[in-house]
């Protein structure tokens, strides 16, 4: 399973590095969203810093949709999806591999967006570990749900419009927990301030990884 996961993840990451879609479209989209939010909030730095945690995660969520759609579209051309099925790869490995590739791209995006939040919104980070751990856990959850719902929508002609509709409501817990953790991290919160929300993220991740590992094979075969 792990060998298959690594094989698929490195393949997807190589494709992204080669095509530069992530670098030239997905990440810039996240940055543009952040800038637009700043315009919408106006020049009040206090207001902007206050809204920074939620806006960061909204930008991450929207950008995740693009990253997932990209991951799905890579397998849609030239029957690549059938190629993966015919190779006899472990479906759990395939799920984990595609999720890992999305997660690594999201981590790069989040680092860039976090810098953007500090520069654009004037937010100052006081509890860096809480910020980092919440980002990591949130990323795992987004990648797992994104991979799962991306596979569900893969065989449909309306997948571009259906995916955000399915995906965004499902990841509300990530938005909520991530935002609360960031609020605590920016306000210099204690571990207790974020622990409840971190636990929510851990449960969310565990549930969607388990569902993905178990359901990815049947979903793939039903396409």
């Amino acid at each position: 399973m792990w060998g298959d996961a690594w094989l698929v993840a490195t393949k997807d990451l190589r494709i992204e590095l080669r095509s530069k879609v992530g670098l030239s479209q997905v990440i810039p989209f996240g940055v543009v969203a952040l800038v637009l939010f700043a315009f919408a909030l106006g020049p009040d730095r206090v207001q902007m810093a206050k809204g920074a945690p939620g806006l960061f995660w909204v930008a991450v969520l929207f950008t995740t949709v693009l990253a997932v759609q990209r991951s799905v579209s890579v397998e849609a051309s030239d029957g690549a999806q059938d190629g993966l099925r015919l190779a006899g790869l472990d479906p759990a490995g395939l799920f984990l591999g595609k999720g890992l590739a999305i997660a690594l791209q999201l981590i790069v995006l989040e680092v860039i967006l976090a810098v953007g939040v500090v520069l654009l919104y004037g937010a100052s980070v006081t509890t860096l570990w809480l910020l980092a751990v919440s980002c990591l856990l949130g990323t795992v959850g987004l990648a797992a749900t994104g991979t799962l719902y991306g596979a569900l929508s893969a065989g449909l002609k309306v997948r571009e419009t259906l995916l955000p509709f399915l995906f965004l409501p499902i990841v509300t817990p990530v938005l909520l927990a991530g935002t609360r953790c960031w609020q605590a991290a920016l306000a210099g919160g204690t571990p207790a301030d974020g622990s409840l929300w971190l636990r929510l993220l851990v449960v969310f991740d565990a549930v969607y990884i388990a569902v993905g590992v178990l359901a990815f094979g049947p979903i793939q075969e039903s396409l």
Binding site: D4, R14, V74, L84, L86
Partner: protein
């Protein structure tokens, strides 16, 4: 190389019914293909040739009837089976943003094949030098077909399911393909070729089955003169 053929049939389909929505792809197909035999599947457009091959590969689930491929159930034991079969369909299953060499390496490793066989397969299909480092998205349809065939050659599965394998190939590649099929058959591999180009495939097979309306309607031995 594939192991010697087992005495049991490579493919058995009994009253196989497969649907796409409510449209019948197979409507009670019966066929038995002995291990090590090379078979032509012929029939008009929409007769069910491609569906027959995809059912054998486990890509289409049967609604009713029975199927056994290499002694395995293509649905319940799909992972085990798919590592032992190779389906060359209308698509090449290649990634445009990977080079020829990267596509080959990924496909062979994903299928549990031996990557040490890749250089010889590339040599055979003329995918050497600059072409090996070229992005697959820049290749012509015929070159993409060569890459797909090189993957097949490197993997060397036990059951080859070839759907219109000559399509898109130039004269030189068609000769190479014919040589490959003959070599595979001689090594004990079971080869099933669905094709309209009967005159090209008949010299390579020993039996032909005719498909019409999702059923196998005729079977004949193919005699080779000389």
């Amino acid at each position: 190389m594939a192991p010697p053929p087992s005495p049991s049939p490579a493919v058995v389909l009994v009253d196989a019914v497969a649907l796409s929505g409510r449209f019948p792809l197979l409507a009670g197909a019966n066929v038995t293909i002995p291990a090590g035999q090379s078979v032509l599947v012929e029939g008009a457009n929409g007769a069910g040739k491609t569906s027959l091959l995809r059912v054998m590969a486990g890509l289409i689930r049967l609604e009713s009837g029975g199927i056994s491929v290499l002694g395995l159930d293509p649905v319940a034991e799909r992972r085990l089976l798919r590592r032992r079969i190779g389906l060359l369909g209308h698509a090449s299953h290649l990634y445009d943003d990977l080079t020829v060499a990267e596509n080959l390496r990924f496909a062979v490793r994903a299928a549990g094949g031996d990557v040490a066989r890749i250089p010889a397969a590339c040599e055979r299909w003329g995918l050497v030098g600059r072409l090996g480092k070229t992005g697959t998205g820049k290749l012509s349809a015929g070159q993409r077909r060569r890459v797909a065939l090189a993957i097949h050659t490197a993997r060397w599965p036990e059951l080859w399911l070839l759907d219109e394998p000559h399509a898109g190939l130039d004269a030189e590649a068609r000769v190479l393909l014919d040589g490959l099929i003959a070599e595979a058959a001689a090594s004990g591999v079971t080869v099933v070729v669905a094709s309209h180009e009967v005159e090209l495939v008949e010299p390579l097979v020993t039996r032909a089955v005719t498909v019409a309306g999702g059923r196998v309607v005729a079977e004949r031995e193919v005699a080779h003169v000389g």
